[in-house]
Symmetry: C2
Subunit: 111 residues, 2 copies
């Protein structure tokens, strides 16, 4: 799971996933088209995405086609995000409680 979160932490990599969502099968060269990035940098990003299972690849001759694999994202969503959804109601209750609490507890103007 850590690999997935780490992979998603970088905006460049999220953009790559977006592009692969729109256009499955892009090659490395196509992925960097229109960007300032060097091929080698993009290659490292792809490695990280592959290690996280977010991208699969397929060689066709000398070209390497890249495909998005949405499954890990969905697993994170199902196994991790969902438990926080259940907390929503409780969180709102907490908030209400704080608001109802005497506002004199809000000292320490510093920070």
């Amino acid at each position: 799971m850590d690999l997935i979160f780490k992979a998603l932490a970088d905006a460049t990599r999220r953009e790559m996933l977006d592009r692969l969502l729109e256009q499955p099968g892009l090659t490395l060269g196509e992925l960097i088209a229109g960007t300032e990035m060097r091929r080698q940098s993009a290659s490292k990003h792809v490695q990280i995405l592959e290690a996280a299972g977010l991208v699969t690849t397929e060689w066709q001759g000398r070209e390497k086609k890249h495909f998005l694999n949405p499954v890990p994202i969905q697993e994170i969503s199902r196994r991790w995000v969902d438990k926080y959804s259940e907390a929503r109601t409780e969180a709102i209750l907490n908030l209400k409680q704080s608001l109802e609490t005497d506002s004199s507890t809000q000292k320490r103007t510093k920070s």
Copy 2:
């Protein structure tokens, strides 16, 4: 959005969120109880979580209570994860396609 992904990229911070999910209102001292981490390190993590909107705080006297805010996680899920869910069917089709493609395209044994 970047702040949220960055905040979630660190396992220590995800553990903090887990603890705040289970026990809302923990203080900084309570948060580091049982860990090897120094208070100052935890404080920085909390700052990052606060900046991402994942944690809200409330002063009570000299104590600072911490609360999980699950909303940003849900927004990410709704606005970002969901679009990848729609890709699932298509991704499976892509996979099928690759499998059906002549396997002789799988050269380059290296790497």
